[in-house]
């Protein structure tokens, strides 16, 4: 029986000829990841269990990104604990303030993760790296601790849903509109425990930033992972960047899928997820009477260079509407620097926006843009659950950078026009 791309990567890491959906396996790990919120819990467990050392100091990544530069004393204590653990075990991929970025933008950018990898991360959006043709999934802190100690993790081999992409996106749409449309179609548990495998002739037209964004939100459909085939776009992205040799896997022609869903990219329109679930999607054009108080452009979903460019193209030479706070957060220091060099940050400030150094901050209601009772935000982040960005009676609308930037100018949810993007 043929295997899906995910199943092939898992079989290779379990040392097996083949695997099938439902099988329990123990697989070797290429990278084990944690952040400043999940690593302290993992470190406590690691110590409590009495492990002496990590399996490989070069295969562990610890990124301080959620509450840094630290928002308060407790957050500072957590960062300190991560720093001390990284130092004690000589963790080579430790990213502190000044070097850090939001983990899921940073690790691909720095070439830490690559095609063919098997990766776990104590962060639900670890599924992002499927864009590179890797198997990558979110776990908890105990799994992270076990992974750091042994270099192994257990998995139940997932069944898969195939998304057959064709056509090409319109100019005012991006990867975010694709994944929001898909989540709207299948629901927040539509891919529960499963792989979302993206294939078809439409894949070639999607940039790496689009693919990273699409795989990032696979978890918002309940999926175990999202994955793209390795093609010219992947190879060009990895070239000169990846630390380890990429390994290319592809699905067997007779691979078994539980479901095949066809998506015509040319039919996708600027899409917004309304409160309080990512599946509550509507075309942005139908929400023009929704008044907003805040805009956030950034996060592991949409803080990459193309996202900054989309925001710049709309905000440059224009003004953020009165009464709207517009917060822009480039996801890594490299992106932040590039925004400075390209003049984006000057343009953002001139438009009336503020620009922060990389942080997850507002996305999870940590800091740097918390909402008061009754306030509304349109954000390029990934979740709009109750209380996600602040008060339990605040609201988050999820959208693309182009839609968020267009809304910043009007003060109402606004679909980006083809000619302005």
């Amino acid at each position: 029986m043929g295997m899906t791309m995910t199943q092939k990567i898992l079989a290779a890491h379990a040392g097996l000829e083949s695997v099938e959906a439902g099988q329990l396996i123990s697989a070797s790990l290429d990278i084990v990841l944690g952040n400043d919120i999940t690593t302290p819990v993992a470190v406590n467990e690691f110590k409590k269990a009495g492990f002496d050392g990590v399996f490989d100091k070069d295969r562990i990544a610890i990124v301080l990104d959620h509450f840094v530069p630290n928002k308060d004393i407790k957050a500072a204590e957590q960062s300190k604990q991560c720093r001390e653990f990284a130092c004690e075990h000589c963790v080579s991929h430790f990213y502190d303030v000044g070097k850090m970025g939001i983990e899921h933008a940073l690790l691909p950018e720095q070439g830490v993760v690559t095609a063919g990898d098997c990766i776990i991360g104590a962060d639900s959006h670890t599924c992002t790296y499927g864009a590179l043709g890797a198997f990558s999934t979110g776990v908890g802190s105990t799994d992270m601790a076990a992974g750091m100690a042994t270099g192994m993790a257990w998995f139940k081999v997932p069944a898969a849903i195939k998304f057959e992409l064709r056509g090409k996106l319109n100019k005012n749409c991006s990867g975010k509109d694709v994944i929001l449309t898909i989540i709207g179609k299948i629901g927040v548990d539509g891919a529960l425990y499963k792989s979302m495998e993206f294939t078809g002739e439409g894949v070639a037209s999607l940039s790496m930033d689009d693919r990273l964004c699409i795989c990032n939100m696979a978890i918002e459909a309940g999926a175990k992972n999202g994955i793209f085939p390795v093609d010219g776009v992947t190879r060009a992205y990895l070239k000169g960047r990846t630390e380890r040799e990429p390994r290319e896997f592809s699905a067997d022609p007779d691979a078994v899928y539980e479901q095949v869903i066809e998506i015509d990219l040319s039919e996708i329109v600027p899409t917004v997820s309304c409160p309080h679930l990512p599946e509550n999607t509507k075309p942005a054009s139908e929400l023009s009477d929704i008044k907003i108080d805040q805009v956030v452009i950034g996060s592991c979903t949409n803080g990459r260079m193309e996202d900054m460019e989309a925001a710049y193209n709309i905000l440059n030479g224009r003004k953020v509407a009165d009464g709207v706070r517009c917060i822009i957060i480039p996801a890594t220091m490299k992106i932040y620097r590039e925004c400075i060099e390209r003049g984006y940050i000057t343009a953002f400030i001139d438009a009336g926006a503020v620009v922060s150094t990389p942080t997850c901050g507002p996305c999870l209601g940590g800091y740097m843009g918390i909402l008061a009772e009754g306030e509304r935000c349109i954000a390029t982040t990934n979740r709009n659950f109750v209380g996600r960005m602040g008060h339990v009676k605040s609201e988050v609308y999820l959208a693309s950078p182009a839609t968020a930037a267009s809304s910043a100018l009007t003060g109402y949810i606004t679909a980006p026009k083809e000619e302005t993007v």
């Binding site: 802190s141 529960l192 109750v386």
Partner: protein
């Protein structure tokens, strides 16, 4: 192993942000965190829950973030078990890894009412609504997972 207590009912898609809001995640102290368990969906839960009580919920319980703090606070504030129609996968994994008993049983999740007295036998997967006298059978864990649980969690099973 079993538990017995009062049922607290919750809807579909209870996410980890309402189970333990991220604004409290600047600490990893379980006791401190558990004061805020379910705060954004049920402010009274922490006050009302007694050791052994049972959470009963709909589909996709624990969706969202990978924070292990979510099953941890549910366990720390005394909850004996979570019964749901289904669980989000990272929450499912985390609950096993930290030793919070969870059972998937759509029939029980529909039939049990808030406030019912419920008992659960984890060995057999039998759920009894003592108030109504009805019993339900949940899928037992696969052997592989039972071994993790009987060892007292993932890390202890690795050290064995």
């Amino acid at each position: 192993m079993n538990t017995k207590g009062k049922a607290f009912k919750y809807p579909d898609n209870v996410d980890t942000d309402v189970i333990i809001p991220a604004r409290y995640l600047n600490t990893s102290d379980a006791k401190e965190l558990s004061k805020h368990c379910m705060e954004d969906i049920d402010r009274e839960y922490v006050e009302k829950v007694r050791p052994g009580d049972v959470m009963v919920a709909g589909w996709n319980f624990g969706c969202g973030s990978s924070r292990e703090h979510a099953p941890l606070v549910i366990k720390t504030c005394g909850t004996g078990c979570v019964i749901a129609k289904s669980f989000a996968r990272i929450f499912y994994r985390n609950a096993i890894n930290i030793g919070l008993p969870i059972l998937e049983c759509p029939e029980a999740a529909d039939a049990i009412s808030a406030g019912d007295e419920v008992s659960v036998d984890f060995g057999t997967g039998v759920i009894t609504d003592i108030t109504t006298g009805r019993t339900f059978k949940a899928q037992p864990f696969p052997e592989f997972i039972q071994n993790i649980i009987s060892a007292g969690g993932l890390l202890k099973s690795l050290k064995k």
